[in-house]
Symmetry: C2
Subunit: 450 residues, 2 copies
Amino acid sequence: MTQRPGQLHLNAFLMSVGHHEASWRLPESDPFANTSVAHFKNLARIAERGKLDSVFLADSPVLWNNVGRRPAGTLEPTVLLAALAGVTEHIGLIATASTTYNEPFNLARRFASLDHLSGGRAGWNIVTTAGVDAARNFNLDELPAHSDRYARAAEFIDVSLKLWDSWGDDAPLGDKENGVWGDDRKIYPPRHVGRYFKVEGALNVPRSPQGYPLLVQAGSSDDGKELAARYAEAVFTAQQTLEDAQRFYVDLKGRARALGRDPGSIKILPGIVPVIGATEAEAHALDAELDRLIKPEYAKRQLAQTLRVKPEELDLDAELPRDLPSEDQIEGAKSRYTLIVSLARRERLTVRQLIGRLGGGRGHRTFAGAPEQVADAIQHWWEQGAADGFNVMPPVLPSGLEAFVEHVVPILQKRGLFRTEYVGTTLRDNYGLPRPANLNLGRDLVAAAE
Amino acid sequence: MTQRPGQLHLNAFLMSVGHHEASWRLPESDPFANTSVAHFKNLARIAERGKLDSVFLADSPVLWNNVGRRPAGTLEPTVLLAALAGVTEHIGLIATASTTYNEPFNLARRFASLDHLSGGRAGWNIVTTAGVDAARNFNLDELPAHSDRYARAAEFIDVSLKLWDSWGDDAPLGDKENGVWGDDRKIYPPRHVGRYFKVEGALNVPRSPQGYPLLVQAGSSDDGKELAARYAEAVFTAQQTLEDAQRFYVDLKGRARALGRDPGSIKILPGIVPVIGATEAEAHALDAELDRLIKPEYAKRQLAQTLRVKPEELDLDAELPRDLPSEDQIEGAKSRYTLIVSLARRERLTVRQLIGRLGGGRGHRTFAGAPEQVADAIQHWWEQGAADGFNVMPPVLPSGLEAFVEHVVPILQKRGLFRTEYVGTTLRDNYGLPRPANLNLGRDLVAAAE
């Protein structure tokens, strides 16, 4: 193996009782943990014990599928993370929020608020939200086109950056003697007029400890990669093979460089579903037990929806049908579609086998093994230039996160690959990124008006 | 005094370092407390020590005025209250949010989340948000008309109620053995199509401990009172005289009764700014010291804006100009406008005197006195049918809330007017209101489709 300087980054992707869709059926699992703040506080504390960079919550403003299959309904991430901020001190708090179904002023405000109340630990996973079901919860009949959603996302981020920079860091004065609380000349209203948004005034929150939340992105379509290259500081991605992950890594770093960015300023974290046992055999036994608990009729319906076919077109004991749509016919979750079809074709999986592979990570890489093997897998991808770190997706929670923190993290620490103590106090400190300077995008307007 | 059965209710209205606009200039005050979660945690704990029903945060999605005058910028209330939920157990958590600048799905979700994570302590103060400055942060050039904002508010609440009732209380099953997490037949999508909103799907949060947040309203215009009579369970209101407060109380209870509601199911809480001293003289000295710290040029500019006149039309040492607009020419904060003009005319106040009176409570009643006198004032209005309780607005925080909790609350408790322990666990329990039944408004649609 080649030596690679520096250390890797680890994010814990929290999802009710685990990423495996059948995890809630295990005897150890609380089936109602999806709405339990005590459960999530426990997870955040475990992750912080392991010195992880951050915890992360996915989100979509829609009730997916039926409620029979698995724990349904989730607490809104910015609100839940505000509650987790109170029981942690160092770990970053990354919330997913949609640019398609929010207004920039409201969302920029909530993230600035979360950054203030966590002492600089907020991150925003920027999503455009696929699926017509979400659109129909927001006055629309049809899902806006993929390219439209990404154009709106870019303008949404631009407006948000103007809002976060609408207060100079030195605008608050607190001058009691002269009775001047703040300096009006250090307020820079965006006065933004664009294709999707008109936003006139400054944010009603002073600039926050990090300046603004860490910007995270997770879409891997062409539009998604362009957005990430322009704005993202961390990227979550689903990659099944080392070669695909390396290709994605080189591609995205290259796009960032082409836009004049330091490729080191964008951290790439593929997902990994670590199924951990004391021995390799125990890990595989847990994996098999989880797959056994999947109800195939539910999973087939979900797979059919992802593939845009009817459930009856899928035969559990046969391979996928040959005539599936091509990626450019897919509106939303484009790259995930291609990943799933490629996985099935490459390994000639039956529908039942494919369901087992997806049940754990929904397209993310599952790796079952003893702690040393999991650490090896992580080290290998990191050293081979496929990752700056990993988005850790425990199949069962809390036990899978505990196993990772107690058994895998110490091995990575012993090898010098992962921190043994937090340095700094903010989420950007954890990822080794600088606090963004205040560009005061409204400054020229103020000067011109004077 | 007449005897009145039952006990009164007390809400603590939290605002950075206090409701008096000059409070931040006192030596004791942290001028940057407006963004300090530690400050707000301290306030919530003090209020809970006093067994108060709830704490409340006002809000508007706009940076008001200039930042010179007083602490500017506030953390978004739902996020801040989620953080306060973790350091309290009993006290209600009421957040203001606008129906004009939010989408029902997002807001209903956040309040359901706050209700889950606080164990049933969430409340929503429903506002329609006055002021063109807010409109210009949300793609609009002009403020929507008052009646339009209220029509949208009513539909917004209807949609929210459908969303909160879109899960039967018994929809989650957690049946591990059969692998059935929830009962799809107990999910009732709103399928709402109205004048302002189309919302198709069920909420992605199960029904919360309270069913839905306590509904609070604070507008006292005719439209505002109609909305309150229809939906509100608690009403905050600004009243300067006993007679006005009694008239408002009778009016609103009558409107509720006319709509078929039990008048006892809507609690009316006028604001009171208690300036508390060990003696009456000490209280008046604090009041005078606070007024002395007001910068009249800032306050005059603000008053001019409220009155829709130019600052130069106001003379600090003269009464208000005679020719001011009538209430029906005012778009937003209508009743507050009338209250301020009436106060000035009734007491023949100079602009300087009016500024002093408004500096403490912005139109709410200020009462300076020793603890017994404050308790008497509260008891008197309550017994005279002017209030079911009070919205307590300490002029200085935390000291004004500490003084109220340590010196006024024990007197009210000794007189049997206020609880000595919390009974029940939810915000509605504190206000003596029942948990709303699930009306399952989508049930008929489901039945019809079968």
